[in-house]
């Protein structure tokens, strides 16, 4: 259930990571995509040359055939303005829409930010990160053969300002206009958002302050072009107009969807997508466990199946205990998401207590209860390995005696809150209570309604001392990890928007956040890792637990299995059908 809760909070976040040269992420025809804790590369920004298509072929890939998806729920948002969940973004940006920039696999497992619609990953016009220029490639077309224009990209961004459609990332929007007076291009308003200028096939973004991570921010789906004439407002979610390699042929919301080729998509303009299958079908309604059982059975007619749903915990042991049997059908690896115990710094003000909580944390038992090494890997920092600039450190190695010493024999009573979402959460609470008692910390465990869990722990007046939370980087930089979770940026504006669940702020840390935010990306990246270590060492505002791990299984006729670290899920741009004639209907 922790996974579930984790999905709930991370549903809104997204992107992350890069993979380095030492990655084992094969993504080739041999079919086993793994990524065992590879560290994010600092060499992340691609050049104009890197932005050229077509994408390097996947080894052994075949063109043609039909891939069949099964899952419990439909992709709630496919409108690029509203898409913010990893798997939804994967479908939108991998199959249906293109963005100004995007992430490309370099060939050795590492990724690079490159121009997608744009000719490069952005030009910092004056070298001060305040004005960014993007030029669209020539000959880009929509599903009906009409030309994609810079005006359409601006219109797409303009839509995402509208409160009715603002489910997606809002970084770029908030940077362009902090006051957010502009409410989108509706009810007679401007069609181009504030701070954006369109000149032919060129887009210019102007900001009041230095925004050095604009190239990452425009890789979010809401820079996908939307022609004004095709804008159906909230109904656009049901059938977005395609600028990517596939288009929606038919869709019954909540039940099924079929994608067919967009004949006007040109592979040689696209450095990221492959588009091997002729057709994709999607069926929704299968419970996660039944989903896994069906994929595992691989019965006749089911060989082309795949899913974004990881192998269900009930049968995970069968799979991981017998990996050879599933060779060529697996994707598994460490994801970008962390799990940690937030310490309520407004209540637990004594540094010694927070440090004691760190020394006494039963990290191994936590991982074991959650499903073992195929569900999570121990993590002793806030950032996870795959974020470029990650620094490995362990400032509080498990030591019960040290924890006791820090507490100096004082009776310490703390309130631990957990989401009442199933048996496991209760078992975990009991485990923490039992283990922390060994160090002299008495935990009172309190179950709270799963519906309101994040509302409650995000409320600065909450009466709890310790609770679980999780986070994943929006893009491959510590800037989307540290400031929202351990800085003022994440502090509560109202109970719905706060993400700094520890309610931790420190002047010195805030100054460093400001300094790093003004640096060019590659200079700033290692700084975030350093800052991560400084925060935990000096203030211990939280207790790191793990980084999540997941295992996916596909039918035997599916190839090109690859864990896309950027969205931490199965990469649709590389999947192919091994024998296109099988189950083609």
């Amino acid at each position: 259930m922790r996974k579930h809760a984790r999905v709930a909070v991370l549903g809104g976040l997204v992107l992350s990571l890069a993979l380095t040269a030492c990655s084992t992420n094969s993504g080739d025809g041999s079919g086993e995509g793994t990524n065992e804790g590879t560290q994010g590369s600092l060499d992340i920004i691609g050049t104009a040359e890197d932005a050229k298509g077509p994408a390097a072929p996947v080894e052994g890939a075949q063109t043609g055939g039909t891939l069949k998806y099964i899952g419990l729920t439909d992709f709630t948002h496919l409108d690029p303005a509203r898409t913010y969940v990893g798997s939804f973004m994967m479908i939108q940006s991998g199959l249906l829409g293109r963005t100004l920039t995007g992430y490309k696999e370099v060939g050795d497992g590492s990724i690079q930010l490159v121009g997608d619609l744009a000719t490069d990953s952005g030009k910092d016009v004056a070298g001060d990160c305040k004005t960014w220029e993007f030029t669209l490639k020539d000959g880009l077309k929509y599903e009906d053969g009409t030309v994609i224009t810079a005006q359409d990209v601006a219109y797409g961004i303009a839509r995402s300002f509208s409160p009715e459609l603002a489910d997606g990332a809002q970084f770029l929007q908030n940077w362009l206009q902090e006051s957010r007076e502009y409410k989108g291009p509706y009810d007679g308003a401007e069609k181009v958002p504030p701070g954006v200028k369109v000149d032919g096939n060129k887009l210019t973004f102007s900001f009041d302050t230095a925004r050095c991570e604009v190239p990452f921010a425009v890789a979010m789906p809401n820079t996908t072009p939307v022609p004004e004439a095709k804008d159906t407002k909230t109904d656009y979610d049901n059938k977005p107009f395609s600028s990517g390699p596939y288009k929606i042929e038919s869709r019954t919301l909540g039940e099924s969807m079929t994608l067919v080729r967009n004949e006007h998509w040109a592979a040689d303009s696209d450095p990221i997508r492959h588009a091997y299958p002729d057709k994709w079908t999607f069926e929704f309604g299968t419970e996660p466990k039944d989903n896994s059982v069906r994929l595992d059975a691989n019965a006749s007619g089911d060989e082309n199946l795949w899913s974004f749903t990881g192998v269900h915990p009930d049968i995970l042991g069968n799979v991981t205990g017998n990996m050879d049997k599933y060779k060529g059908r697996l994707v598994h690896g460490e994801q970008k998401y962390n799990g940690y115990l937030a310490i309520n710094n407004l209540r637990v003000k004594d540094l010694a207590v927070r440090q004691a909580l760190n020394y006494a944390v039963p990290r191994d038992r936590w991982i074991q209860l959650n499903g073992g090494e195929f569900a999570g890997k121990p993590n002793t920092s806030f950032m996870t390995k795959s974020v470029p600039g990650y620094k490995e450190f362990n400032v509080y190695p498990t030591d019960i005696e040290k924890a006791k010493g820090l507490l100096g024999g004082k009776a310490t009573k703390l309130r631990y809150a957990y989401s009442n979402d199933g048996e496991l959460s209760g078992q975990i609470a009991d485990m923490f209570k039992e283990e922390y008692a060994k160090a002299g910390i008495e935990l009172e465990t309190i179950a709270i309604s799963p519906d309101d869990y994040y509302g409650q722990i995000g409320d600065p007046t909450n009466k709890y001392d310790l609770y679980w939370a999780g986070w994943g980087a929006d893009w491959p930089s510590g800037s989307t990890v540290i400031p929202p979770c351990l800085g003022e940026d994440g502090l509560v504006l109202d109970a719905n928007t706060g993400t700094n669940y520890s309610f931790f702020t420190e002047k010195t840390i805030e100054d460093e956040i400001d300094r790093l935010s003004g640096l060019p990306i590659t200079e700033a990246l290692p700084g975030w890792g350093e800052l991560d270590e400084k925060i935990l060492t000096e203030f211990a505002p939280y207790v790191p637990l793990d980084s999540s791990y997941n295992v996916w299984i596909t039918g035997s006729n599916v190839g090109g299995q690859y864990l896309q670290q950027n969205l931490s899920t199965v990469d649709v741009t590389k999947l192919f059908v091994r024998d296109p004639a099988l189950n083609a209907g």
């Binding site: 709930a8 909070v9 549903g11 809104g12 976040l13 099964i70 439909d74 709630t76 913010y84 409160p163 009715e164 603002a166 489910d167 809002q170 509706y186 009810d187 407002k233 909230t234 109904d235 979610d237 049901n238 019954t252 919301l253 909540g254 039940e255 069926e283 929704f284 309604g285 299968t286 419970e287 039944d290 059982v293 069906r294 059975a297 019965a299 006749s300 007619g301 089911d302 309604s449 519906d451 309101d452 994040y454 509302g455 109202d494 719905n496 928007t497 993400t499």
Partner: protein, 329 residues
């Protein structure tokens, strides 16, 4: 007769009004904010406001209720300005999580559930009544004992065991049955039956026991009655006594049980639909309750209540047709 029908119909209207009002109020009595839940955990305040506006949650509850009920009969407009949406009758509101009108969602789910329930009901009733009656006819023989044993086993098995077992054996191991799915009957009758066969079999296996035992005991009881002895004494053939007189006299409680059974199947379909991944009403309402999706919950509760009250009404009418002793008054 007419008086009975009118009185019952009025009662139906009253029942449905109470049910709709009760469901509506329950959601407002709950401590959580429906707009915030619908909007998700990382929703901007402006979006919550938009959802609240769309649902009309900022107006008095009674006004909202009256508007909602009005929409069912006359349709209404949801939202304002560029964002207004026409929702034609029967308008059960708009589902923000599914981004479509509730009536469309329900209209798609209804035939799925009806196909599962009615198909299973027909099979279950045929098997249970015939096996019960035959067991009574062959009382004390191996057929009788076999039937009783089968009902014991069937009655002891839960749906969530039988369903996955059938899937495992007939789909994943032997690979002789197709993956359960819903194809409209008129589109392709063969695919319809193929996709439904496992859900039907599951419900029939689990559900036939009660009615089979009831038919058997009812028949045996009737066969001991005076009028049967009289019929026999009058020299009627055994076949006529059994099939025409005894069976008809036993039919009233069987009709009640089978009628209620149909209602039960519609309810039991929640589990069956989930197991076989069928997007029917049961699964829809379960998901809606979990997500506190008020418009969907309202619609599914109202539809379920309508089925139950009309089902009971029809059973009452059937009584009179089957048993002349019952008067509609």
């Amino acid at each position: 007769m007419l008086r009975f029908v009118v009185r019952r119909l009025l009662l139906i209207v009253l029942t449905l009004t109470v049910v709709s009002f009760g469901t509506f109020m329950l959601f407002f009595a709950a401590p959580s904010d429906p707009a915030r839940i619908l909007c998700g955990t990382r929703c901007q305040p402006a979006q919550i406001e938009a959802v609240r506006d769309g649902l009309g949650l900022d107006r008095p509850i009674m006004t909202q209720y009256v508007e909602y009920m009005g929409g069912i009969f006359a349709g209404r407009t949801l939202g304002e300005g560029d964002w207004a949406k026409d929702c034609s009758a029967p308008c059960f509101g708009y589902s923000y999580t599914q981004n479509q009108e509730v009536s469309e969602i329900v209209a798609r789910a209804l035939p799925v559930s009806a196909s599962v329930a009615i198909g299973a009901w027909i099979i279950q009733t045929l098997i249970s009544v015939s096996s019960g009656v035959i067991a009574a006819r062959k009382r004390g023989t191996a057929v009788d004992r076999g039937t009783i044993a089968a009902t014991l086993i069937g009655g002891a098995l839960p749906i969530y065991f039988v369903g996955p077992m059938l899937l495992l054996i007939f789909r994943y191991q032997l690979e002789i049955l197709p993956q359960p799915s819903y194809t409209p009957l008129l589109d392709d009758p063969l695919a319809f039956a193929g996709g439904m066969i496992m859900p039907w079999a599951t419900l029939a296996i689990v559900g036939f026991a009660f009615d089979a035992r009831l038919s058997r005991s009812q028949m045996l009881e009737t066969l001991d009655e005076d009028f049967i002895r009289t019929s026999r004494a009058k020299g009627l053939k055994d076949r006529v006594v059994f099939w025409r007189h005894a069976l008809r006299a036993s039919a009233t409680p069987l009709a009640t049980s089978a009628g209620l059974g149909l209602g039960g199947l519609l309810g039991g379909a929640v589990v069956t639909e989930s197991i076989f991944g069928l997007n029917g009403l049961g699964k829809l309402s379960l998901d809606a309750i979990t997500a506190r999706n008020l418009p969907i919950v309202m619609a599914t509760v109202l539809i379920a209540a309508t089925f139950v009250v009309f089902g009971t009404f029809i059973v009452d009418m059937l009584y009179a047709a089957i048993d002349p002793r019952v008067r509609l008054s």
